[in-house]
Structure formats: C-alpha cells, structure tokens
C-alpha cells in the first residue's frame, strides 16, 4: 500500500479561547443533542462540564439499544454519535470538548493521550492516583465487551487496581471544518448498573474533591490545547439547535 506523503505542517488553529460551560443537569437526550450541536454548528471551542438528570445509559454509535433493554433501573437509553461501549451515567463528571482538529494531534491515540494526561494531572492534584494504559498487545480491535468500563484499552486511565476510571470517545468531522468532539465520563461513584469500575470515591471523598477536580480538569485541558479558558454560558440559539434535534416526545 502506498505510504502517506510526509507532511511538514498543519493549518494553524484559529481559536484562541476555550469557552468553559458549567452546565446544569440535563436529560440524557438533550445532553447528547448538545454534544452533536456544538460539534457541527461551527461554534467556538467549548468545554462543557455537565451531569445527567435523570440518569441515563448511553451506547456507542454502532451498538444496538435492544442489547440493553433489560438493564434494571429507570433510565433513558440514548445513542452517542461517538463510538465505544455502553456507559451508565450516574454520579460522574461528564465533559464534552468540541474544538478545531488542529488543536489536537492528528493521531487519534495521541489526541487521547494529551487529554487523558491532563485529566490524570487534575486527578493527582486531589489525591487520586491513575496510570494511562500503554498498550494491549494481541487484543482484537473489535470490542468483545458491550460496556465501556469492562475492558481497559490503550490510552485509558486506570486506578492502581487496573480498573478503568474514565471512559471517553471521539467523533471527527471534516466538513465544513475539521473538528473533533471528545466527550468522557469521570466516575465519582461506581454506578449500580454495568460492571464495577474504578471511581474517585475509592481514593478520596468526591463531594469535597469535586470543585477542585473540575477546576483542575478545565485548567489542564485548556493548557494542553493552548487555549485560554473563559467562563461562558450556552447561547439560547445553541440550546434551541440542540432541542431541535430531539425526537418530539423528548422535547
């Protein structure tokens, strides 16, 4: 197969600021719609920190919701536009970064490493120890487990016992601009549904750590991207665009 032509530079990223939106709890469907809308709508670089009300179960783009109908509990099942496995969203810090692709390495694994290292730094600052999985030699790329947290893979953050504490996924678009959505769930308390995963609560008290941890994540990710974090709120038009994506029953 032909070898890709070596390149010497990438188009400069034009964004300078990172909007930081500390969003109120929203429904699973609206959270997913907002992630998509902020990716595709040509909005400025945004880091949205959010939570789930009610709790929800999100599945990856290529997963079948019928697989998860029997999961106990009152929750919505929503499908992400990103890949990977199912996540039960309960007590966690959820983040969604939407940014010009030029702000992150072109290599998908490298882009994960940049963001996960930033989150690991924030976790370490509040006393939560993690390591980033280097590689999984011999493993099949097609996942054998339906749950995101069941099987740590390369670039994942794990606690000292080897359990996964952060689940994240990307969607990349190239038109009309090259942009990336990278969203993830940092578990505060392991949810009752799905496999037992690592959680912040295993090492420190999440309630007291949460404000410092959130601020640390924002600072570290903004620094990794070379952007200046700026507190912001969603524009009403952005929320309306997301609500317009919902099924009528979910609006």
């Amino acid at each position: 197969m032909p070898t890709p032509t070596p390149s010497t530079s990438r188009p400069p990223a034009t964004e300078k600021l990172l909007r930081v939106v500390l969003d109120p709890p929203r429904s699973p469907a609206l959270n997913m719609a907002l992630d998509s809308a902020l990716l595709e709508g040509g909005h400025p670089a945004t880091l949205r920190i959010y939570s789930w009300s009610p709790y929800g179960l999100s599945i990856g783009r290529f997963q079948d919701p019928e697989t998860f109908r029997a999961v106990p509990g009152r929750h919505q099942i929503v499908q992400r536009v990103t890949g990977g496995g199912a996540i039960y969203h309960a007590e966690e810090i959820t983040f969604a970064l939407t940014v010009d692709a030029a702000r992150l390495p072109a290599s998908i694994p490298d882009s994960y490493n940049v963001l996960h290292d930033a989150i690991a730094e924030a976790l370490s600052a509040v006393g939560v120890q993690t390591t980033r999985v280097c590689c999984s030699p011999g493993s099949s790329p097609r996942p054998t487990e339906p749950w995101c947290f069941a099987d740590p893979g390369p670039s994942d953050l794990v606690d000292p016992s080897g359990k996964k504490i952060l689940g994240s996924a990307q969607r990349r678009i190239r038109r009309p601009q090259e942009r990336i959505l990278h969203h993830g769930s940092l578990v505060l308390h392991s949810p009752p549904q799905g496999p037992r995963c690592a959680a912040v609560a295993d090492q420190v008290d999440p309630a007291s750590a949460r404000p410092t941890l959130t601020e640390g994540m924002v600072t570290a990710m903004a620094s990794a991207l070379g952007l200046a974090p700026t507190p912001a709120q969603l524009d009403p038009s952005e929320l309306a665009a997301a609500q317009g994506r919902l099924e009528p029953a979910a609006r």
Binding site: T5, G83, I108
Partner: protein, 126 residues
C-alpha cells in the same frame, strides 16, 4: 504512489469514474490515521448520495468519522463484504476496499487528481 485513475477530496475520499458510474472509497492517508478499524456503516442500494455530504460512518478504536461523497447520484452497489472484513480496507483501500458505486448525476467541484492530493497532504497534514 497513488493510482492516477481517480480523483480525490481534501477529506480523503476518492472516486473512480467509468461510463457514468463512480466507485468510491477512502485513501491510504485516511486509513493510516484511523488506526484499528472496527465498524463501517454504508448506505443502502437505491439511496441517494450528495457530493460533499456524509454517506457513511466508520469507527476505529476510539473515534467515529464521517465518510463524505465525492459525487451525487444513486447508490447502485455497495461492498457488502467490507464491514465484516475491514482488514481488506486497511490493506488495499484503492481496490478491494471500495465502498460504494454511484450512478452519477453530479460531482464535487473540489475533486483533485493524485498529484494535487499529494501536494494537499504536504501542506495540511500532521
């Protein structure tokens, strides 16, 4: 050396046109940056595609990416074996890794030949 018998989009798709039908796939550059391929979603035969718009999605480990159509028209064939044999896409993206065939009604005005695509990669890559 990329084949000279087809045109390319900046978003790394290619189209090879013969007798009003375009065979469409993705380039070696796209495949190399996607890393391990796990899932592929292609449109149904009989559906319409529009130049510049997404016609499918591909998931590699860690990311889902859109695949954009270089042409407009009706999908007349899809590579049905490809979603379950993504190794052939990784190893031979210009032949065995074809994705769809389209009866053309129009094409993107951004299509470029292999040499221009190579120059584009030199200035816009990582």
């Amino acid at each position: 050396m990329r084949p000279n018998d087809r045109k390319f989009l900046k978003s790394h798709e290619w189209a090879k046109t013969e007798d009003g039908t375009a065979t469409v796939g993705i380039s070696d550059y796209a495949v190399s940056h996607l890393s391990d391929l796990v899932f592929l979603d292609l449109p149904a035969v009989g559906s319409e595609v529009t130049a510049g718009e997404s016609f499918g999605e591909i998931e590699s480990v860690k990311a889902v990416s859109d695949i954009y159509s270089p042409v407009s028209g009706e999908v007349v064939a899809i590579n049905e074996d490809l979603p379950d044999n993504l190794d052939s896409l990784a190893s031979d993206c210009f032949d065995a890794g074809w994705m769809i065939k389209v009866k053309i009604t129009g094409e993107s005005d951004e299509l470029m030949d292999a040499d221009a695509y190579a120059k584009h990669l030199e200035t816009a890559g990582d």
